[in-house]
């Protein structure tokens, strides 16, 4: 589903990701862990085309994301191509980023009507259904500012799902929440993981969640993959010293 081929990302002279190769299968749940500044967010932002790759190719569903095929050669993608590929990818942000000038309903129907061309009624039905899923059906006509952080994040998840994405990107979606609100959001994500076949790429510091949610965990450091293993293996018997150190630090053991 997702393929990184020799991807490099630089900000000026600062090489943030270097020569990155990995694949994520369709329907797979992959969690990225690693110390701050190791490039986890950057990977998600590249997938969302919020940043452009410096080198290499990213493919999603077989199609190059950062590039497009023209006369048999790969050339840098234009805005139209990026938008086309991006339609199949959804992202949930650490800070929710709901549109404060719209109601919850407005947030949910905006992109399906404007981008997918759904009718107002179809989009509305979808919004109702998704708000039911995230347990906020009664908040449909509220403004985001009147919701708690946890509720806002659940709306943001519903908003991403409203686009029926093939791929969902989650960047530390519980980090900005009060501790008592974290469990509700994680429970929702587990439910989505179990009931859909969406490919999920997730950055989190919740190691317990990473362990039982993901099929695979990738440990990052300095813009490289240090270790890539199933969670039961990586969390119980990490092979690399960097992984052992990192887990000791975050798990306090």
């Amino acid at each position: 589903m997702i393929v990184f081929e020799g991807v490099e990302k630089r900000f000026g002279d600062n090489v943030v990701l270097s020569d990155l190769d990995f694949t994520v299968a369709s329907g797979e749940h992959v969690t990225l862990i690693g110390p701050s500044g190791s490039g986890k967010t950057t990977i998600l932002r590249l997938l969302m085309c919020l940043e452009a790759v410096s080198d290499g190719v990213i493919r999603v569903g077989g199609r190059p994301l950062s590039h497009m095929e023209k006369g048999g050669r790969l050339v840098p993608a234009d805005e139209k191509h990026s938008r086309e590929v991006r339609k199949h990818i959804g992202m949930v942000f650490q800070q929710f980023n709901l549109f404060p000038n719209m109601t919850v309903r407005g947030n949910l129907v905006e992109a399906p009507t404007r981008v997918l061309g759904l009718s107002r009624d179809e989009a509305d039905a979808r919004a109702v259904e998704l708000l039911d899923l995230v347990g906020l059906a009664e908040k449909i006509d509220e403004h985001p500012s009147r919701l708690s952080g946890g509720q806002q994040q659940r709306v943001a998840i519903a908003r991403a799902l409203a686009m029926r994405p093939d791929v969902l990107l989650l960047d530390e979606v519980t980090s900005a929440l009060d501790p008592e609100l974290v469990a509700g959001v994680l429970k929702l994500l587990r439910e989505i993981g179990e009931t859909t076949d969406i490919t999920i790429l997730c950055v989190t510091h919740e190691m317990g969640f990473a362990r039982d949610f993901s099929h695979r965990v990738m440990m990052f450091d300095g813009g490289r993959i240090v270790e890539d293993a199933p969670p039961e293996e990586l969390f119980t018997a990490p092979r690399e010293p960097r992984t052992q150190e990192f887990l000791r630090a975050v798990l306090g053991r």
């Binding site: 991006r86 980023n97 000038n101 905006e110 992109a111 404007r114």
Partner: protein, 216 residues
């Protein structure tokens, strides 16, 4: 010799007619300035060549006198075959001048919209035009309404310089009356009071709006 109420009664209709012109010039000029200022502000976030040109134009307009700009349009446009009435030229000049000021106001409002809003809109694949009209501007504009309101009031007080190209606004009428009767105290005092009577309440209104916006 100092104040003659009968004279006041005689000239008041002319002054009020001038006030009408002043208000029309302000309203139309502000309309141009509000729209064009927004266009400038959006272009300032466009690709480099556009951005640089618009930036330079805005700085130039803000650094030179409105009166000379009025003369410029009034005398130069006809040479390019565009003949417009003095009032229309005045509206265009006022609009352009204040568009430069408004563009700075809008820009500040746009910059105050968090990056995350742009990114969320992009992540949802919203088209560029909809990101502006649906997400960014609805958040940016309410915050800058007081500043835009202040610019309308400033423009109102600056319209009298259109007498330089023969517009018979309130000061133009006052000057006509003064020059025929050689009585200046009444006409210019009334002209001043008329400005005060309209602009002071407007300024109070804007200050109230300011507090409300800050409060949200």
């Amino acid at each position: 010799m100092t104040w003659d109420w009968n004279y006041v009664a005689d000239v008041l209709p002319a002054l009020l007619d001038g006030l009408r012109i002043t208000v029309i010039a302000t309203l139309l000029g502000s309309l141009v300035a509000l729209v064009l200022g927004l266009v400038f502000a959006v272009l300032m976030r466009g690709p480099a060549p556009v951005r640089v040109v618009v930036r330079a134009l805005v700085e130039f307009v803000r650094s030179t006198p409105l009166l000379v700009q009025v003369f410029f349009l009034f005398f130069v446009l006809p040479q390019f075959g565009v003949t417009l009435g003095a009032l229309v030229v005045g509206v265009i000049a006022l609009g352009l001048h204040y568009a430069a000021y408004n563009s700075e106001v809008y820009r500040a409002g746009i910059e105050a919209v968090p990056r995350g809003q742009w990114e969320a809109a992009t992540a949802l694949s919203l088209p560029r035009s909809r990101v502006w009209t649906g997400v960014v501007l609805p958040q940016a504009i309410p915050r800058v309404l007081p500043a835009l309101g202040n610019n309308v009031i400033s423009m109102f007080k600056e319209t009298p310089l259109l007498i330089g190209i023969g517009v018979l606004d309130i000061v133009g009428q006052a000057r006509e009356a003064g020059n025929t009767t050689f009585r200046y105290v009444e006409v210019y005092t009334i002209a001043g009071l008329l400005f005060l009577v309209l602009s002071y309440p407007a300024a109070l209104l804007v200050r109230r709006l300011e507090r409300r916006v800050v409060g949200t």
